[in-house]
Assembly symmetry: C2
Homo-oligomer: 473 residues x 2
Amino acid sequence: MQKLQKLIDRIIRRININLRGLEFDCGPYLRPCIPDRKLSSFYAFYGITGHHPLRFSFSHSNLAGSYFLGKCRVDGSVLYKTDIRGDELKLKGDSFHYRGIKMAMDQDEIISVADSLLVKTLVHNKSHDPENPEVFQIKNSAACPFANIHGAPMEGSFLGAFATADLTTLHGCIVEPFAYVQLGELWHERIEAGQIWINQDYTFDFRYQFPEEVLAQYIRTEPGQLPQGRFMDFLNERKGHFRRVFDTVHLDPLPGVPKSASVSRYAVIIPKTRFGENTLVAQRAYLENSVLGKGANAQENCFIINSILEGDNVTAHGAKIVNARLGRKTFVGFNSFLNGLPDAPLVIGKGSIVMPHTIIDLEEPVSIPADHLVWGYISGPRDVEHNSISLKALCDIKRMVTIGRMEFAGWGSKFVEAFQHRIDHILEENGAYFDGRKKKGHAQKGQNIAYNIIQPYPMGMQKGIYPTIEIQP
Amino acid sequence: MQKLQKLIDRIIRRININLRGLEFDCGPYLRPCIPDRKLSSFYAFYGITGHHPLRFSFSHSNLAGSYFLGKCRVDGSVLYKTDIRGDELKLKGDSFHYRGIKMAMDQDEIISVADSLLVKTLVHNKSHDPENPEVFQIKNSAACPFANIHGAPMEGSFLGAFATADLTTLHGCIVEPFAYVQLGELWHERIEAGQIWINQDYTFDFRYQFPEEVLAQYIRTEPGQLPQGRFMDFLNERKGHFRRVFDTVHLDPLPGVPKSASVSRYAVIIPKTRFGENTLVAQRAYLENSVLGKGANAQENCFIINSILEGDNVTAHGAKIVNARLGRKTFVGFNSFLNGLPDAPLVIGKGSIVMPHTIIDLEEPVSIPADHLVWGYISGPRDVEHNSISLKALCDIKRMVTIGRMEFAGWGSKFVEAFQHRIDHILEENGAYFDGRKKKGHAQKGQNIAYNIIQPYPMGMQKGIYPTIEIQP
């Protein structure tokens, strides 16, 4: 174990040096999340298909987690129960556009994690960093449990629990718990806990700040302790179900999954759950007594319980949906928490967009109309007014508006357009529009995955460290 | 699947070219053993400990099987349910003796399998080839189900079903089904089915030939068909039990295994089986309602059912023991088949040696006295006389003797000495003599193994081929 402990110390020191301007010690937040006795008890797996470029290269790391569907290298890092998904990396021959400049990719993009410590983190999608289009790099950085790193290269940065860096290159930044950023690029900033911030240069700016007392109910972090609150309670209650799927090499195929759909064998599926055509259920998703309509997807770490999703729904990484009825083409963003009442499900009308990191935790019945944008915190009907706007009204905004704790500036129509474009893109990538021949996406391409399981040294000085592994076609 | 089929064709052609002098086509014997639909359905695993040098290198191969506890490389080969065990390879710094010449190893020995097709074969131990002490090489060769390759480098050679090449370097040879050779080195020979042949230059020569009609009951091979007979029936009846242990990633530790013993998590253990101190049970061993006394070992592919082994027993690769009582320090050689009567177990007295490839399949009760050598085929008491000799009487032989179908020439005492020395060596290597501090062997060193599971491309042209993998410390 000594080498692994030295490695962890070294990574923490590197991150702290990078964050020296912000006077922050990441160690006390990270160490409780990686208890010694667990570090060597969880295996890593990587997936192999015939569809995705293959290159895995691992050295001097603890790798417990999953790596798949794209090129990846990990050096001098600790990745604990972390999923690295490369199925949307740029490919050789793709072209890349940045402010009118077109660049052709002369090699496949690779995810590179170096000198970093990621705990229960999801890394997905391609880099938007125009300076290094071939490498989606995470270096000298750390992420706490249930953080999302989505197309967001970072160096010298720290993500708190349930934080999301989405299409934002971070240099020496701290993104506190449950904060969400989609900002293009950011230098040496500290984003406060529960801040939701989306900005596109000269076009729009969306900000919402969760009230401190609300946030504390759902997620609290103290140095030297594991994250606490309702999010963690919710996850801990369902943890046991994952053991079965991770402990078995070959699981029998699930009955009732259409040929055009994929349900990961590392997802938890509890009766009676039904799957429509073109549906996609990623690993570490949890589905219980729910219906996924045609083209709906359930991404990594999301939970869908006692709910009906009518079709073409996006449930982004880490979103939780309990006791709900979601109309066609609704979008539920990263790490949102939607909890209806058992006898009065939360209703969300078709085409509505639930912003990333939204909490709708009902004390009284609520119904969100069709084609609305929803954000923030809603516990009953009186909150809806201050936490939503119709997409039509949003499109009319041309300068600035404040609704409840949300501030919007810029072109509402561009914001709606960008969001709807992105939702369409996600559905397309996931194979929701597959017609039996064309428009294949992840649901169709990810059906035949072979999973390889790799384990660390079981004892001695190197306990918990994985051997050096190189895998190529 | 096309690439894998091409690879198989290419290997078969290479072997046939090597065997051209013997006018032999190995294809019809091998193809039925590797059905298309199964080639991509079985995974490979390799073990990692802190005790053994690590280096795995795989390219352009189907690898379904196990690789562990030593350096190994596989190139352009098909290894189907084959186990490669490197825990007795020579290590850097070891010295190697050959007819009075001493050579120091300047690197660890590696097992290298190239352009070969091995089906359900066991490869174990170190090479005795003085020309290439650093490489235990198997090249342009094939082996049929349940063959053993034991410290026996080979090129351009073919092993039939249940054949064993033991400490014999083979060049362009055919070893037919259930034949056993221990000859040092052999060029361009064909060893007949059921021939048991041990020779040490200028010292001794032991030969036994199974009667054709007896052999046909136990093992028959026809071109275009799977091997048939009682051996295959016996194995097929018990096949299902292995599925459970291979389908689970983490199995709970077995209760009642002493701290000084190892029981592979890839062995089948059926109640009520008991394990003494320093016992070793290898993967793919099968134990049912039996007792392994202190220091006893059960090697790969062996079956021990309704039997008591009193201690320090060696049950070599592929041996089967049913309804038997074995005294202390008895040895049962490779692929032997010992089958007592349910109400009158086969008794073998202490210190007795059951030669490799012996069949004792009782119709009437039989008891072998202590300190005897047993060979050939025994079905009742009247066969014992023609298929055994006391070690004492054997030691007195100085020239030549014929007993039943067995011919012995040379120094009986040297033969007994060599055998007993080897048994002691096996027990020592396996940790039978561990005293709580010193004399550690496989039973103690193999306790903490991490198993890594690797799988082939699941679809497309490369279906069944494994990616190129390189693993180093």
